[in-house]
Symmetry: C2
Subunit: 338 residues, 2 copies
C-alpha cells in the first residue's frame, strides 16, 4: 500500500459535475448575496457535502481584492501580555471573518522585515505590528500595495499607518503621585535594556515627573524585559546604600521578579518597607502571592479599535489613537492615609 500522498482537494468543478449544474452555480452557492435558486442550492450543498468540498480561499483571494488574512507580527509570545493580545486579537479577527497569520520575529529587527515581506507575499489585508521596529521602506511598500499597517506603541508615525498607543506619560506621572502619597521618599524605576519605545517612554516620564515633584528617581535597566531581570534589578538596588522605598516597574513581569527578590533575598515587607507599582495588569499580577498594584492596558478596547479599523473600508486618514492606562489598586502600595 505505497500509495502516493498527493494533494487532492476537491474543486468546484467536481461538485458541479456531481450536482449536474455549472461551476458558476457552485461558486454562487458559496458567495454571499449571489443569485441561486433554492433547488440548485440544495443540490449543490448536498454534492459539496458528500464530496467534502471547501472553497479555496487562495484562489478566491487571487480574484477579490481581499484575502481575509491579517498578519500579526509579534515576538516573545510567552510574555503574558503578548499572549493576551494574541488571544483577544485572534478571536476578534475571526469574528469579523478574518484569519490571523502569526509571525514570530524572535526579537531581532532583521526578522521584522522578513515578517512584513511574508505579509506582502500572502497578500494580507492588514499587518499588525505588536512588537519590533519595522523598516520604514517596507511599511511604505505595504501601504502602497493597499495593505493596512497598524503599529502598536510605536513613536515614529509612519505615513499612512494606523497607530495605537497607551498614555505612558500619564501613567508614569500617576505612579509618581501614588508612591509619594504613600510616603515613599526614595524613588526608583526599573526598566529593561530593550529599546522598546513604550518602555523608554515610561521610565523617562517617571524620572521627569519625579524631578517635577522635587524628588529624584534612580533608573535601573537590566537585560531583557523578563522576570529574571526584575530579580537582578532588585539585587542591584538593594545591595547599594540608599535603597529605594518606592519603585515603579515598567512591566508587571519585572515587578513580580523584583518583588520576589526583595522579599525572599532581602527580607523586605511589601508594602510596609517597600511600595511597588507595575504596568500591564497581567493575570499573574492578581495572584495571591503578589496582588500587585498596577496600570491596566485596555487590551480589549485596543483590539476592538483595530477590528473597527479593519472592518471599515473607507480610506480614512490615519490617526494616532491614545488609550488611557487605568490604575488597578491592589496591595503593593500603602493606602492614601498613611
Amino acid at each position: 500500500m505505497s500509495e502516493i500522498r498527493s494533494r487532492s482537494f476537491v474543486s468546484a468543478q467536481m461538485v458541479a459535475d456531481l450536482a449536474g449544474v455549472s461551476r458558476s452555480a457552485v461558486s454562487r452557492t458559496f458567495t454571499d448575496g449571489a443569485s441561486v435558486s433554492e433547488a440548485t442550492r440544495r443540490k449543490v450543498l448536498h454534492a459539496a457535502d458528500s464530496l467534502g468540498y471547501h472553497v479555496n480561499h487562495l484562489a478566491r483571494g487571487l480574484i477579490q481584492d481581499r484575502s481575509n488574512i491579517v498578519c500579526l507580527v509579534v515576538s516573545d509570545v510567552t510574555t503574558p501580555f503578548r499572549a493576551r493580545m494574541l488571544e483577544i486579537l485572534t478571536s476578534r479577527l475571526q469574528s469579523i471573518d478574518k484569519v490571523a497569520m502569526v509571525i514570530n520575529t524572535g526579537g531581532d529587527s532583521d526578522s521584522v522585515s522578513t515578517a512584513l515581506q511574508q505579509a506582502l507575499r500572502f497578500r494580507a489585508d492588514a499587518t499588525v505590528v505588536l512588537s519590533g521596529t519595522p523598516a520604514a521602506s517596507l511599511v511604505e511598500t505595504c501601504i502602497a500595495s493597499g495593505q493596512r499597517v497598524v503599529l502598536i506603541n510605536r513613536d515614529d508615525h509612519l505615513e499612512g499607518s494606523e497607530n495605537l498607543a497607551v498614555d505612558n506619560e500619564a501613567a508614569a506621572r500617576e505612579a509618581v503621585f501614588l508612591l509619594r502619597r504613600a510616603g515613599c521618599r526614595r524613588l526608583a524605576v526599573v526598566s529593561s535594556e530593550a529599546d522598546t519605545p513604550s518602555l523608554v517612554a515610561r521610565h523617562q516620564a517617571f524620572t521627569a515627573a519625579a524631578a517635577d515633584a522635587g524628588a529624584e528617581a534612580t533608573l535601573v535597566r537590566v537585560g531583557p524585559t523578563s522576570y529574571a531581570s526584575g530579580v537582578e534589578a532588585a539585587r542591584r538596588l538593594f545591595s547599594r546604600s540608599n535603597a529605594p522605598d518606592g519603585v515603579f516597574c515598567v512591566t508587571d513581569l519585572l515587578a513580580l521578579g523584583f518583588m520576589d527578590a526583595a522579599r525572599h533575598e532581602f527580607g523586605l515587607a511589601i508594602p510596609r518597607d517597600l511600595c511597588v507599582v507595575g504596568f500591564d495588569d497581567i493575570e499573574q499580577a492578581n495572584w495571591e502571592s503578589y496582588k500587585l498594584t498596577t496600570f491596566a492596558q485596555p487590551a480589549a478596547e485596543m483590539v476592538d479599535h483595530i477590528a473597527a479599523l479593519l472592518s471599515a473600508d473607507n480610506a480614512e486618514p490615519a490617526e494616532r489613537r491614545v488609550f488611557a492606562a487605568t490604575p488597578v489598586w491592589r496591595r503593593t502600595v500603602r493606602p492614601n492615609a498613611l
Copy 2:
C-alpha cells in the same frame, strides 16, 4: 485627496516589463533551482526591488501542491504552556519556510470544526491540533485532501493522523512515588472539569497508582483549568476533615493557585505541612514564590518532531509517538531522606 484605496500589488509582469525580460524569467529568478543567467537575474532583482515586488504566495500555492501554510488550532492562548507551544511552534515553522495560521477555538468543540474548515479552505499543508476535540469526519476530509493532521495529547487515534502524546501514566505513577517517599499519608489529585484527555489520564493514573501502592487518593475536579480553580480546589480540600498532605495537580497553573490558597488562606507551610507536585513546568513554576516541583513537558522536542514530520514528504504510516515527562526537582516536595 480622496483617492480610492484599492489593492495594487505589483505583479511579475510589471517587473518583467521594467526589466525588459519575459515574465518567466521573473518567475525563475524567485524559484529555487530554476535556470537563470546571472545577468538577467540581476536585472530582475533590480527591477523587483525598485517596484517593491513580492511573489504572490496565494497564486503560488494554487499551482504547487503546497501552500506553506500550517494551521495551528488552539484555545486559551494565555495559558503559559499553550503560549510556550505557540512560541516554539511559530518560530520553528518559520525556520522550515512555513508560516503559522493560528485559529483560536475559544473552547467549544463547535469552533474546532470551524477551525478545520479554515485549514481546508486555505489549503494548509498541515493542521496541528493543540487543544480541543476535532470531529472525526472533518479530520478524514483533511487527510483525504492530502493534509497532514497532527494531534497532540489525544487518545482517540484517528486513521491517518500523526499523534504526539506525553506519558501521563508514567508521570502520575512517579508523582505517587515521590509523594509517598516524602512521607505523605493522605494523597489527593487536583484536576479540572475539562474533559481534556491528557488531564483525565493524569488523574486517573494517579488514583490507580495510589491504589496500587495501598493508599487512597481523593480526586477534586473544579471548573476550568486555571489558577482560580486551584484556589477553589484548596478551599474544598482543606475545609473538610482528613485534609491531604500530598497533592498532585495535573497542571502547574492549578498547582500555583492551590499553593497560594494553602499558604495564605490556611497557613500551611510547603513542603513541611504539605507537598505539591505539578505538571508542565511553565515559567512561573520556577518563580521564587513557588519553586514548584513538577514534570516538564518536552515542548521543544515535540515541536522538533512535528517539524520533522512536516519536512518529510514521504507518506510514512502514521505512528503514535510518546514523549516522557521528566521530573524537575524544586522545593515543594520534601527530599528523599525524611
